[in-house]
């Protein structure tokens, strides 16, 4: 009970949706050293594969769904191992969190790679509302009915 204070919250919700690396991060510093896509064949450590970037192209919720594009614009066999692993995994719907967990990629790294792949047309993103938006009444009612049927 003694600890029931709000002193923690300088870092809490008032900080808004900005996560690590989203505020004042060196961001795109590594990008220029990154070769043009199609050329990244080496198996590299996770944070290197993002070219040092910690900020994804799109604001992806951890539960945002992704699936592999049925007709990828590039020959899948030329992709990096990370890209290929994600393409394989996303033959069925997967959330950003599942890609991170199943491929043992830190969440932030998974986000950057997934957003890049979506940008390149390799993945389709399924995020029906902004990452900050709470589900509306209609969606909540569908969830309720789904839970009751479980």
């Amino acid at each position: 009970m003694v600890d029931h204070g709000r002193q923690h919250f300088g870092a809490g919700p008032a900080g808004g949706p900005a996560g690590p690396g989203r505020s004042g991060d060196p961001g795109w510093a590594g990008e220029q050293s990154q070769p043009a896509h199609g050329d990244r064949r080496s198996l590299v450590r996770p944070y290197t594969v993002t070219g040092g970037r910690t900020r994804p192209r799109y604001d992806l919720a951890i539960e945002a769904l992704v699936s592999a594009a049925p007709y990828p614009p590039r020959d899948v066999t030329t992709l990096t191992p990370e890209y290929r692993a994600i393409m394989d995994l996303c033959r069925s719907w997967r959330s950003v969190a599942e890609v991170s967990a199943l491929l043992r990629l830190p969440l932030g790294v998974a986000r950057v790679i997934i957003a890049d792949m979506a940008h390149e047309g390799l993945l389709r993103l399924h995020q029906s509302r902004p990452a900050d938006a709470q589900p509306d009444v209609r969606l909540l009612e569908r969830v309720l009915s789904g839970l009751r049927k479980l």
Binding site: P13, V137, G146
Partner: protein, 191 residues
């Protein structure tokens, strides 16, 4: 194709992963986030002075509600001081179930504080170990200093049916909050 999420909070060892696992269609998975020195300004790294980065893990499960609607259940990281992960969890969530062990009530205070501050709908789930509930809900409400509008339910986190009922109460509560008007949400408002 749509996905939604519910957050499961509470102190260490209160049964969050058990709760998630009892209703999940997959074995709970673990995702890790790396907190770097860049976020040290907003999170407290003093407890780990020798580290410039630290890893925070959280468990989650998945429930397919309809062929095109998937619910994810995320357990909050055990260490409450790593707020950056919580911000990510709470964004766009339906709400939260705060699990409470009546023998260690204070363990859930940080989670209660956080969800109240963020305006997220939440309910309290009293996890009765071995089916024993030694306090009435009103005693618990008073001890936690939460308003009468917050539902308190008794839960057996090992039981799929019990977990499911708690989730139903939470979604009903979230619906009630929406019909009562927009919650005071921090940050940019989406209308």
């Amino acid at each position: 194709m749509t996905s939604v999420k519910i957050v499961v909070g509470g102190g260490f060892g209160v049964g969050k992963t058990t709760f998630v696992g009892s209703v999940s269609e997959i074995q709970p998975l673990t995702t890790e986030a790396v907190m770097t020195a860049a976020s040290a300004g907003i999170d407290d790294l003093t407890a780990v002075p020798d580290k410039t980065t630290t890893t925070v893990a959280m468990d989650f499960g998945r429930v397919t509600l309809e062929s095109d609607l998937i619910l994810y259940l995320f357990g909050t990281p055990g260490q409450h001081r790593f707020w950056f992960m919580w911000d990510d969890l709470v964004r766009g969530a339906i709400g939260a179930v705060v699990l409470v062990d009546t023998r260690r009530l204070a363990d859930c205070f940080a989670a209660l504080d956080y969800f109240e501050e963020s305006g997220l709908p939440y309910i309290v789930g009293v996890n009765g170990f071995h089916g024993e509930f030694t306090h009435t809900n009103e005693e618990i409400r008073e001890a936690l200093t939460i308003g009468s509008e917050i539902p308190i339910v008794q839960v057996d986190a090992r039981s799929r049916e019990s977990t499911k009922q708690a989730l139903i109460v939470l979604v009903q509560h979230a619906l009630q909050m929406q019909s009562a008007g927009p919650a005071p949400a921090p940050g940019p408002a989406w209308t």
